[in-house]
Symmetry: D3
């Protein structure tokens, strides 16, 4: 059986459960995880980058905003291809990481599952959620956007962008088609028509790759959080509730499990495969 | 006159006046300023790094906490040596930058000084402060710390550190010696004696280099913001007001002009001279 | 529909219409285009390099010699695959660039097409030619040469090479087979038999990728321009005119639209994905 | 015919025939071969690394231990795909290299085959062996191990590893299945059951790629050579001779042609595509 | 005797005597000289870059225009400090290099001096000139320009620059002061006053370092060669001949030995210490 | 007190006490020590490289041959300058490292000194020796060799070199002058006169920097270990015993404490400040 060439992009939305954990999570990522990951997948991953989250603006919490960072990979082979097996080394992935990320309850590490490794954590993806935690988000999307609804032709010379990434999970029983009907028919037009949005891009999440709970990735750009606020107030006031809503108020889906988002600028903090030079500390 | 070998470290504490400006400031730094700076000083600067600020913890504002980043240079020649003159190119430094950083009032750029360049901005250093703004902080310190008061021998293997950098400016008329007497006699002992501090380092600011207003740099390490809070409550309760206090309550000096600080982890976001590869955007 | 793994090499031959534009074209390429391009295609391009053209030798003009540079990409996916769509950012590509490259008339930019972007420019590829301009050349070829006719086994230790790249476009109505018959039967043998040529390589242009006008890429190596001159005089004197010639004199095809070439040494000026570090100016 | 996406890993086991040649082989590799190789295959090789061999421990010779290094490539396209042809440059590969590596007799270079290039040398792979030399080993294996028999979950934080790579070639007439039956039924269980082995990984060699003589790659990890010695004494004493043995004593196959191995630590000496910066000498 | 910290910049103006030699000179520089040089001086040179010369514009020859490139070093210690001695390796510097650069007559290499190395060539600096050759130019200048006469505050965002570097050697018997009097009193004002010049910078050559024949370095910037032509025609028409002129016509000094120049854009072709990755050839 | 510009080179000769430790020592160096060191001294060290030792040839042991590697630094400021103090982080330096290097007895780590850090280890330099161990060698020498006695003008194009580095410590009571008299009068002439040596370089060790026990560094080059053997047999037979010899047989000084050496090729395994990219493991 030949290995399939399957270029894909994956996105991991990461939050910190408490500010106490922010520098610890950075420490693990930069001291251990970048090198462990590159060691593992350098031969078949063509880009691996960390994008720092901008602070969540007031009103962002209801959209399941993640306050830490985006991890992005570009794969040449699906990470879930059956050939991808038997890792020489497993990445060092202490269970505290999932606690810091809010994927498991914020309790004593001794009471956490043992031997939890990165693969199992990522597989836990769309299953770990409960009332006090948020799922580990690992969403695969095409390398090129399915659709661009606004702002075609924008160049890096056109100025700095405030980019809002959103993942939407339609409730159980709602098909991709039905959910998309609301997104394209009711939700996105409000953003498209608002002069304060500069760019809209969206792709279907490739749920078949890893059974991710999210159905759709949407990226909407603004000049800054003030414009985001103006547009979102308009959206809240004008977007009708879909029949399948599970939450009464906009955006009509529960945060994290139904609606996850992240605020970014245009550039990575670390394009790991070209910029990582080891764990160098400040003197 | 020979050029003096004068290895020094400089620190620029940066805040953003509003969240609206955070991504714009990053855009300018990474799209313009890193390359302009390297072009200018690569032959005589041996390290140039950006360290992202951790979010200001509750209670941090009174200490003049800066919420954006630290810029660090290591110079082989003083940037204020008389030989350092006649730049082939001046760095591109639009006046909005000072507005974003809160160094000038948050008003229409058209009303801002024209032709303001990076040199003039940095020279404005300790003079720009008024009630609504904070000074441009550009402090020179020795390459090696003057004194270490706690935690000698700590290694990078000892875990992640929550590092609190503080610059203190003694009021006019208070000599370095008199100010230091309070710092070493009253202020630092409370931190040294508290079990929740892991490391204390301090150096006199080399005010003679650029007439910086600050007198002393102090770095105190904690396990995280929760420990910082515990220790600071203790400090607030137990450190006596110096005779020369200009503010009634701890830390007895006005924020920004008397007391400036920054919360950091151990690592840079970008060690510019080794990691910068151009302005690469997220697809 | 799966994305096809389709490794290909592409060549862009670039000239400057006037010397007035040479440094401006370099400025745009190094200040804007490298970073914009890497941002766009890093996940699916494995090499992206600029090779500076050697000066066109006397007599080279009739061969449509390009006097600026070769841009080379190695693609994992065809840049014209239907999946390659909806760019997050479009590269900054002011219309002056096409003027500088001689692809559009050398007139006031105000009279040039608006909103011309890099994609449209490259699509204009083999169509933009008129009497005063030359086409934008964007030719795809296999990663490995179809045929080597001379010099097998030459190594980098064998000395510096003066490499002449030629693209030939057979006139309308002349099939690849008919054109190739002349190239392999009449044209190349003269070079093969001449002792002053050291290496001959050729591939069919993959016209199906982007409807490029050129049919065949030929690379012939010499010790230097003096040897090129000797051989070309011989070729001119001895190669018979094909029945389908559209120009009376050797090489029997019009420059640029029928015959395009470029003189190179062995090495790139910039292997962009490994060597680009931002736009650093000379002090 | 489309080019097949065929990600594979290849291993070249290298020894030096005499210590006189060790620095000469390094000189050729670092002064010539890395750059020549990158020039050739950068567009379709995603990793290219050199791992220095640890010294052969006492008793290692009988296992065909190689005392110089491992060369590792990760290919996106098989190096033996019919499209891979007509190299622009051949790597500089003087015949002395094969003498230094012990692949040809240790005689005057003048008596060696002329015009031997790297491709022919690698093709000579499993054919060059005679009583005084060892074959050029070029074995292709899957990117991911076929099977892991021990130590699943080991991370880079678990300590330094002493890794023993072994290639086994079953005698003529012994099928892969029959040979594997002994390896999995008699040979590997002794290692699996011994507490001093920490990790066991194995893959079938992809003999179909280049007719390599070896059938199976096995990697067994220990804490160090002392543990290797303990385990190997046990193996020697307890592993029964297979019916098809061609040598009377353990490991029952002739060194080099039947049994080749290499002792490594965890890291490369040079990850050439990211770390090579030219041939820089010690002052 | 302590080693003096003596930061300096050095400039090597390079031309090719014939186009036949251009690719050979590049071959030697990139295949041998960069690595040899870095090996030698990496510990005490902080920048080492090659800037490609723009083609010499019509009329440029009389100004001793160099048509190949500028080599630039930034030294921490003078390369002529008495401590700088006993090189472990000498750079590989075949005598043909000086022939290619036009520093020695264009004759059979067999008749050239043997054992000529890089140091001797550079020492030959200002002495090798005769009627058919030009001197090896190796001029030391301060790290920062002595004076800027026009264009203060220009930034890299202000557009692409066409930079004309000139070295002037006053005739024997004319002191620095007397020569400068003409340069500052008669020569430079014409350029300062012309609206088509955008920047003027000048420094005294540090002749004491290596007895260089040139007295002064001047850099004048234009928008392009057309503007250079306009200004130079004006200069030719309006600048009076100094009493010490040795040539009747402007610029009143012999090309190469009295007047050497170079046309550059803003950026290096190779910033060798950060960008060189070995001699990688085009496939 | 100004900081002195004091460019120096330092050499650390390293051996492994047993092969059991070789991969462990590499693990510590590459996983911890490179990054810890760069973090510490990047602002004032201009080169930091590791050169792998070639295997000790038969007969090399009596010369105190080190079988692991050479660590080389180029300092801008002496590492023992009084300003160099109060390290923010101490390098992680477990006491096992000194055991692995044979600087302390090969016993249970529990019985080793606690809190031993890198600074103390290096200070232990020339004091730790006893019958079963060898001193930690940390020798400072000038950036440029004091004297070259043979092979001036040798270039990297002249072939691969087998380089023998020797440190000699004259017995107590023997002055530098007296010791040098024997070295230059009796010892080195034998090597100079032998046709099988290609290069001889020597410098006085700067003992004043760190009280190093060694007096002189000598580097002698051969074509390979066979030539070394030939020359050393000659040396043994012909070099007379100095009056101050403390050992009866050549080289008349005790290994390690009186005579330490290292066999190297021309290139580093890792030029850490340009090549280190983190601890990347083999898959």
């Amino acid at each position: 059986m030949a290995i399939e060439f399957n270029p894909m992009r994956s996105l991991i939305f990461i939050r910190v459960a408490k500010e106490q954990y922010r520098h610890q999570l950075r420490h693990w990522l930069y001291r251990h995880h970048i090198a462990d990951s590159i060691s593992q997948f350098a031969p078949y991953v063509s880009k691996y980058a960390y994008y720092p989250a901008l602070p969540v603006p007031p009103g962002g919490d209801v959209f399941g905003a993640h306050n830490f960072m985006l991890t992005e990979h570009y794969w040449m082979v699906s990470d879930f291809d059956p050939h991808v097996k038997n890792k020489t080394f497993t990445e060092y992935f202490p269970p505290e990481v999932l606690r810091w990320q809010g994927n498991i309850p914020d309790v004593d590490p001794g009471s956490l599952p043992e031997n939890l490794d990165g693969d199992r954590a990522r597989e836990a993806d769309c299953a770990a959620a409960d009332n006090t935690t948020s799922p580990f988000i690992f969403a695969f999307v095409p390398v090129w956007w399915d659709e661009e609804l606004k702002g075609k032709g924008r160049t890096p010379e056109d100025g700095s962008n405030y980019r809002w990434l959103t993942l939407i999970s339609y409730p159980e029983g709602v098909s991709q088609e039905d959910g998309d009907k609301w997104v394209f028919g009711d939700y996105l037009p409000v953003f498209q028509n608002h002069p304060a949005t500069t760019r809209i891009l969206t792709s279907r999440v490739l749920q078949e790759v890893n059974h991710c709970r999210y159905n759709r990735l949407i990226e909407i750009w603004f000049d800054g959080p003030e414009e985001w606020d103006v547009v979102l107030r308009k959206a809240q006031a004008s977007i009708a509730k879909p029949a399948w809503a599970t939450v009464d108020t906009f955006p009509y889906l529960p945060k994290y499990t139904g609606y996850a988002s992240l605020f970014l600028g245009d550039i990575a903090e670390s394009d790991n495969m070209t910029q990582y030079h080891g764990y160098i500390t400040m003197r």
